[in-house]
């Protein structure tokens, strides 16, 4: 589903990612973890070209998105993304937020898109908030709307960039629950997170990044019980 080959990224003189190669199969849930500044978010953002890799190739469903003539817009429609700070559109109601892209990008009839949006909002437990503006929602509610907004485009891949890092502790659970239920639907997910318990429970694989390098690629069982690298060991000692 996702195939990353020899990916490097630098911002000016700052090298953020070094020669990363990784493959994610269809339906797999991958957690990307590591210390701050290790390049986790940058790696994720390279997958839908919010960052353009300096070197290397990224293939989505066998198609190279880093090719010069790749249709970036088309690719992004198939990849949902959830941000740390939600980025809901404040000038639209919750329902309009969710239905906007299906109507304006996929050209789905309005009634149909609204019905679909309502269904999705019900799925994340926010059907009663359809007509309010995002400013009236709590952080956890905003993030659930953001997830519904991404799902409305029926993506085959969902990217989560620290989806719970900006939330109050008591709101983390409601968002993780939604993500957990999503993981069982067969959608491919890549999640940058600091929630070790969640990563261990939900992910099929753990990618551990440090200093822009992919240090470990293991099952949660292996990674959390017997990490191979020293770096992962010290990281886990601090986190757990």
């Amino acid at each position: 589903m996702i195939n990353v080959q020899n990916l490097s990224k630098s911002f000016g003189k700052l090298d953020v990612l070094h020669n990363i190669s990784v493959e994610v199969k269809k339906g797999e849930v991958v957690a990307i973890i590591g210390p701050s500044g290790s390049g986790k978010s940058t790696l994720l953002r390279c997958l839908n070209l919010l960052e353009v890799p300096t070197q290397g190739h990224v293939f989505i469903k066998g198609e190279e998105i880093t090719a010069p003539k790749a249709d970036t817009m088309k690719i992004r429609q198939e990849i949902g993304m959830v941000f740390q700070h939600f980025h809901l559109f404040p000038n639209m109601t919750v329902l309009e937020n969710v239905a906007y892209a299906p109507i304006n990008v996929k050209k789905i009839p309005k009634d149909q898109a609204r019905q679909k949006a309502l269904d999705l909002l019900a799925r994340v437990g926010l059907a009663d908030k359809a007509d309010v503006y995002p400013s009236r929602l709590s952080g956890g509610q905003k993030q659930r709307v953001a997830i519904a907004r991404s799902l409305a485009m029926e993506p085959e891949i969902m990217l989560f960039d620290e989806p719970t890092s900006a939330l109050d502790p008591e709101m983390v659970k409601e968002v993780l629950e939604v993500m957990k239920s999503l993981a069982h639907t067969g959608i491919t997910m890549a999640i940058v997170t600091h929630e070790m318990g969640f990563a261990r429970e939900v992910a099929d694989r753990i990618l551990f990044l440090d200093g822009g390098r992919l240090v470990e690629d293991a099952t949660p069982e292996e990674f959390f019980t017997q990490p191979k690298s020293e770096r992962a060991k010290t990281f886990l000692e601090k986190m757990l």
Partner: protein, 219 residues
């Protein structure tokens, strides 16, 4: 001190008719200035170096010269160059629109840049095309930031139109001056004119406040 406003009462209708003239200059200039200003602001945020450079240079010209010099250049110098006798309404509106566009473009550029970068990323990640993203997502948010500054532009424009009295247009100020010259009293007609300008600016400010409150409903 021997003020006598009764002396100008017969001339008041004549002066008041200048409101229409002043508004005509202002509204036409605002309309064209806004259109040209939006285009210039798009030049300024585009990645095209030529458009970008042009817009920045353009703005620097109007920032760097007195408006009355520009007005004189267009009204008196253009006829010399082309042989076309330009009317005050033409040269006035052209000058004010060109000038307002320079400032408006800067205001709009700032408003667009002040919208959270995440909004753009969220729109891009949903596959929303550039034009739609600007129109439906970025600009509606930018307008809230832009509006107060735009009102200031409108006020400045309204007051700047008084410059057309130097090229022979019968606006508020010129009518006041004519009355003054005719009756040999300066304070009364000019004070009357000043009060009218003030009232117009206050009405403009009040209208903008109402509009702003409506726009902030989603906060």
């Amino acid at each position: 001190m021997n003020l006598d406003f009764s002396k100008i009462v017969p001339s008041m209708p004549f002066i008041l008719q200048g409101i229409g003239v002043t508004l005509e200059y202002m509204l036409l200039s605002a309309l064209f200035g806004l259109i040209w200003g939006v285009i210039l602001s798009l030049f300024k945020i585009s990645n095209n170096k030529i458009l970008n450079g042009f817009a920045v240079f353009y703005t620097s010209i109007f920032r760097g010269t007195p408006l009355i010099v520009m007005l004189a250049l267009i009204h008196f110098a253009v006829p010399q160059l082309t042989g076309y006798r330009i009317e005050p309404i033409q040269s006035g509106v052209i000058t004010f629109a060109l000038n307002a566009a320079a400032y408006i473009s800067e205001t709009i550029r700032g408003g667009i840049m002040s919208v959270d970068k995440g909004q753009r990323e969220a729109a891009l990640s949903l596959g929303v095309p550039y034009r739609k993203m600007m129109w439906d997502i970025i600009l509606p948010q930018a307008i809230k930031n832009i509006l107060p500054a735009m009102v200031n532009e409108g006020i400045a424009l309204l007051k700047d139109t008084a410059l057309v009295s130097t090229i022979g247009a019968l606006d508020l100020l010129r009518r006041g001056n004519l009355v003054a010259a005719e009756k040999y009293i300066y304070f009364e007609p000019l004070l009357f004119v000043a009060v009218i300008y003030y009232a117009m600016v206050m009405i403009l400010t009040g209208g903008a406040k109402l509009l702003e409150r409506r726009l902030r409903r989603s906060d």
